[in-house]
Structures are given as structure tokens and as C-alpha cells.
Symmetry: C2
DNA sequence: AGTCTAACTTACTCGAAGTAGGTTACCTCC
DNA sequence: GGAGGTAACCTACTTCGAGTAAGTTAGACT
């Protein structure tokens, strides 16, 4: 008889734990198939607590996504900050991105696969990640080519984000055979895009 | 009192009608929120018929996705077929893609937003669309540069597919203001990528 | 007219999301 | 150290929609 009494926890700590468990469950079983009862049980708490803190199943998913987004943002800004040369900054950002998707596979899987299961809110949250990425890229490009029209910068940023998202999936999936590193993935993107970026967004340096 | 007697239909025809209605409903309300009862009602048939023909709600979603995929494939192969010059072929394919996402907004929304709601099967089906796109692109690039290593071709194809997917969303969303046409979207992609493609995948032409 | 089957129905079960309302551990202030 | 307040927690329910069992009719073809 384990006399392990369930400890009470302050809300913030419990929430973090719940998000962690939910992330596991969603990634493992898929959003739909994961049940709130089971998540609650694994946390060691009853279902209404989840609803107390997150409002709904989708709310819980949103919390998972939001946390991943914050972490991704931190990783990238950390890598880019203080790098003066735009080319190096972009490269550093790309490497950080691929490293993140590699090391946070669970969260990344969640984002790309369980995306919109729940509805609007979760979809918006994921879209917000992409928007965040685009904004970073657009800002970076703007620093590089202040003269280029806004629309072109946006389009270029979208292309970069899309390319990275897709390449990261490819890259994570060909895990076993013939490993591609984060650096190589970043190089692929740089090689394909950098010429275009230089020539399209105004006169070359 | 409308004496409109419900007509019986052969299976194939009824299935097509069901997929059409389901596509509408899923796009309109989201996968989760759309109910099988309501879809059945709108079709003018009872729920078990849907299950008879599609097995499950997810099966119905898969059927929607699959149809859109077939249409997309037809549109692109139609555009690319017979174009000898690789650059023009790629451009024609891109234009066809953006035209498709523009004219089939409903289906496209469905694909990008209701993606993985249901589970594995639907996710796989969507992934299959991307794989289809990548394969087309990789084949195209291979024709252009038969000497380049397989892995580089794959990476380039993934980048193109990701860039297009993302750009098409951006493009469809900035609908009102300052319209971007399918041709322009394709041009953005070409401008950014073509230099890179020429220089990366072997020696320039 | 009789028969066979594909197209269709009504009327259910079952499981998981979400909720109403009450209980208990822990901190605080005297 | 006891009273009181509140944040953390629970049991026991309702509801709603996915999925199903078993039977019914239209209409095609002898």
C-alpha cells in the first residue's frame, strides 16, 4: 500500500505539470483520441481541475502550443540577438529553428499534426507561431534591405517560413538513415534562398 | 406541403453528393463542430448512410481530402505537361497551384485547417498531398539536373512545397487589399528560388 | 406478379466533454 | 493554538454526438 498522499500544489506549478502531461498525451495518442479523464489521472488529479484551469480540452491544447511558441521564440531571438551581419543572423536563426524542432520533437509534432483538431482557437494559436516567425524574418530582411517594398518583404518572409516548416518535417522524418544536421538543413535553405534574396529585394550588396 | 419525394440514387452519385456537402460543412464549421447528423440532413438522407459509405466521420473527411488531391494533381499535371523548358514548366506548375488554391478555397481551407482533427488517416492523406507535390517538383528538378544528388533534390523539392503552401495562405488571406494574382505569387517563388536552384544543383546552364 | 438486393430508415447504445455543488488542506492573523 | 477564509480539490451527474443493430421499401429484372 503506497501511502503516497497526493500533494497539493500552487496553481502555477500544477498548470505547468498539466501542460507537460497533456503535451505527452496529445503527441502520443493524438488530440482526438486523448481523453481528459486520462490526462487528469496521469497528472494525479481529477478532471474538473483541468477545466478549472484551462476551460476546455481545446484550451489545454492552446496552452501546450503557446508554451512551445514561447520557447521557440526564446531560442531564436537568443541565437539572432547581437549578430550584426544579416546573412549570419538569418543563418543563425535557421540553425536555431532546426535545432529546436529536433530537440522538441514532441511539441513540434503536436503543432504540425494536432493542429486544428479542436477548432478556431488552436488554429489561431498555431497561425500565431507562423506569424511570429514571419515577423522575425521580415524584420531581419528589412534591416538588410530597408528600401524594398513591404509586400515583397512579407512574401519573402512567408516563403522562408514555409520552406523551414516543411524542411524541418522532412529533416525530422529521415531520422535514421543518413542523418541531416540542423546546420545542413539551414545551409539548404540559405543556398536556395540567399541568392534570390540578394537580387530580388533591391540591388545586391 | 412539398410533396418532394426523396429520390433514390445510385451509390456513386450519392457519394459524390455527400462529399460535396461534407466539404461545405467542414469548411464552414470546422471538422470538430460539424455533426454527422447535420451533414446527413443536408444531404437529405439518414446518418447510417454516411457510415455505410464512408465508415466513419474521419473516413468522410479523408474522402474530401482525397478528392481535392486528385483535382490538384490534375490541374498541375495539366499545366506542366508538354512544357519542355524546366524553368517554364516550374513556373507553369506554380501558377496552376496558386490558381487552384484560389479557386478551390473551400477545399484548400479544409486541407490546411482541419487537417489532423480526426487522427492518423486524415493526417496521412494530407501528408500524401504534400508528398505528391514534392514528387512532382523533384521529378521536375531531376530533369533539369540529372547529376545532382538525390538528397539535395529532395530538400529543394520540400523547400518549394513549403514555400508554396505558406505563400498560398498569405496570398489567399490578403484577399481584399492590394490583390496579388496567382501569376505574381508564382513570380515571387521563382525569383527567390530560381537563382538558388541553378547554382546549387550543379553547374549553371 | 413475384423476387432479390441496393438504398434507405428508426431507434437505439456508448463514451467522452463538460458541470453543479460540496469538501478539505493549508495559510493567516489573532 | 484555534477560528476563518480561500485555493485546491473531489464525487456524481448531464449532455451531446459518434457509431450501430435490425428492419423496411423502391425499383430492376426475370
Amino acid at each position: 500500500m503506497s501511502t503516497e498522499r497526493r500533494r497539493r500544489m500552487p496553481r502555477a506549478q500544477r498548470e505547468r505539470q498539466m501542460v507537460t502531461v497533456a503535451e505527452e498525451m496529445f503527441a502520443e495518442r493524438g488530440y482526438q483520441a486523448a481523453s481528459m479523464d486520462e490526462i487528469a489521472e496521469r497528472v494525479g488529479v481529477s478532471k474538473p481541475m483541468l477545466y478549472e484551469y484551462f476551460g476546455s480540452k481545446e484550451g489545454l491544447l492552446v496552452a501546450c502550443i503557446r508554451r512551445a511558441r514561447a520557447e521557440l521564440l526564446a531560442a531564436i531571438t537568443g541565437a539572432v540577438d547581437g549578430v550584426a551581419n544579416p546573412e549570419d543572423a538569418l543563418r543563425a536563426g535557421l540553425v536555431a529553428f532546426f535545432e529546436f524542432t529536433d530537440s522538441h520533437r514532441r511539441a513540434w509534432q503536436l503543432i504540425r499534426r494536432e493542429a486544428v483538431a479542436a477548432g478556431q482557437a488552436a488554429a489561431d494559436e498555431i497561425e500565431a507561431i507562423r506569424a511570429q516567425q514571419s515577423a522575425i524574418d521580415a524584420a531581419l530582411l528589412a534591416r538588410f534591405r530597408p528600401d524594398a517594398p513591404q509586400r515583397d518583404l512579407e512574401a519573402a518572409a512567408e516563403i522562408i517560413v514555409g520552406a523551414c516548416e516543411r524542411l524541418s518535417i522532412w529533416y525530422v522524418e529521415r531520422d535514421g538513415l543518413d542523418r541531416v544536421t540542423a546546420k545542413q538543413a539551414a545551409e539548404y535553405v540559405m543556398d536556395l534562398l540567399w541568392y534570390g534574396l540578394r537580387s530580388t529585394l533591391g540591388s545586391p550588396t
